[in-house]
Symmetry: C2
Subunit: 245 residues, 2 copies
């Protein structure tokens, strides 16, 4: 049983259990702890690091929740197998491209306030005649158009300018103004493009469109954003990891 080197900084504002969890995660991700390895038991770990058992347990629970560790009563804790090492998450080809170093460019096609849209209002849980902010952006990668994104925001964002959206992502802007989307419901589908979409995205005749509509909510349950996005089928795909209880 390998002893993982862990340094705890009690002066840090980061909770001890989280510091521990982070370093244990790193130990597994880096391969210092391999799948199947027995994990140092709670008591020994608490003793060695001079932490209380609840604190150690909480850190371990965090990793168990993410599927990195498996606990069995009476037996011990072991490092889980590799493929399970991902939590439910949804990423897109776009995220992957950014990670790979390609730099997407986003241009604002239109930004209007006081737009009335019954569907969007309904999605945002607002009266149908609420004046909304309508934002249309085009995203390109290496000068190839990849996505056409139409977003609707509640009226408190009526003072947004194109400049605000030049550099930052929409979510970063929303967050900086106190709107924190914490949950989103997305629907992914496909359809034929409209003539306008075909033109903006540079699609050939018969090319399909990948679509995603999203409703994002704050922790308080207030709708923060409604979006209707179209993607070039050859530029985008969605990756989803699903757990089965």
């Amino acid at each position: 049983m390998p002893e993982i080197a862990v340094t705890i900084d009690r002066a840090s504002p980061v909770p001890l259990y989280h510091q521990l969890a982070e370093q244990l995660t790193a130990a597994i991700d880096s391969g210092r702890l391999k799948p199947g390895d027995p994990f140092e038991n709670e008591l020994a770990l608490a003793d060695r690091l001079e932490l209380s058992r609840p604190t150690v347990r909480r850190a371990i629970a965090e990793l168990v929740g993410r599927g990195l560790l498996v606990r069995r009563r009476g037996v011990g804790t072991t490092v889980a197998s590799q493929v399970i090492h991902r939590r439910d998450e949804l990423t897109s080809l776009y995220d992957d491209m950014v990670r790979k170093g390609q730099k997407p460019r986003t241009t604002v096609v239109s930004l209007d306030t006081d737009v009335v849209d019954a569907v969007a209002s309904e999605a945002l849980g607002l009266p149908a005649d609420t004046p909304l902010v309508s934002l249309v952006r085009l995203r390109s990668v290496d000068d190839v158009p990849a996505a056409l994104m139409h977003n609707w925001l509640p009226p408190q964002f009526a003072d947004l300018t194109e400049g605000d959206l030049a550099d930052a992502s929409l979510y970063a802007v929303l967050r900086s103004r106190g709107a924190h989307p914490v949950i989103a419901h997305q629907t992914i589908g496909a359809r034929r493009p409209t003539a306008r979409e075909r033109k903006l995205l540079g699609l050939a005749a018969g090319d399909p469109l990948l679509t995603m509509s999203r409703r994002a909510y704050s922790a308080k349950g207030e709708a923060v954003e409604y979006g209707d996005h179209c993607y070039r089928y050859d530029q985008y795909a969605f990756d989803v990891t699903v757990h089965d209880r």
Copy 2:
């Protein structure tokens, strides 16, 4: 602030925190606690039920994790809005249709053993020349073709017959034979259909295709299934709920 009636049975083998969590969940689901309602604070709840604060906290944490409650330091805990009441999950229009009482019909188009497919083998983590089971099914709803599903299974399922697949779902069959998929990685995209797909799904010229490929793994990390599915864009869509941490 409504006092929720809770009865705790200390003689039960069910942990106290779980008993409490269950009853609080029921209170919310049944509507006795409505979204936005302030939630009895931890200390009061612990006092009233004669439980320790950690126990109460653990129960509340369970509901917070499921998105039923929202905690804010210095403010209190409130019942989350209705829309948040769902955990990360991925459903499809198909599931919705079943739930609404429509009954889809699945027919086996082909079932072959000893099929060699490099892509599928790679996805299953097997040598490229492994003889796989290739299964193609067509799913219809009200006699309208909706999905064409191509699945590859590892060789231990070579004795599967069409009869096995007549009534049960593929996952039910896999499970009954000891293969328990617990995690799956899915990729959702769109593309133009091939001539064969167009014919089988009854697509018009220019109709797009919604696609989903899936790799499913057992708890031990062994690949259980690889699937390549095509859906009619007007019959299917994927709903995904994403949390942001």
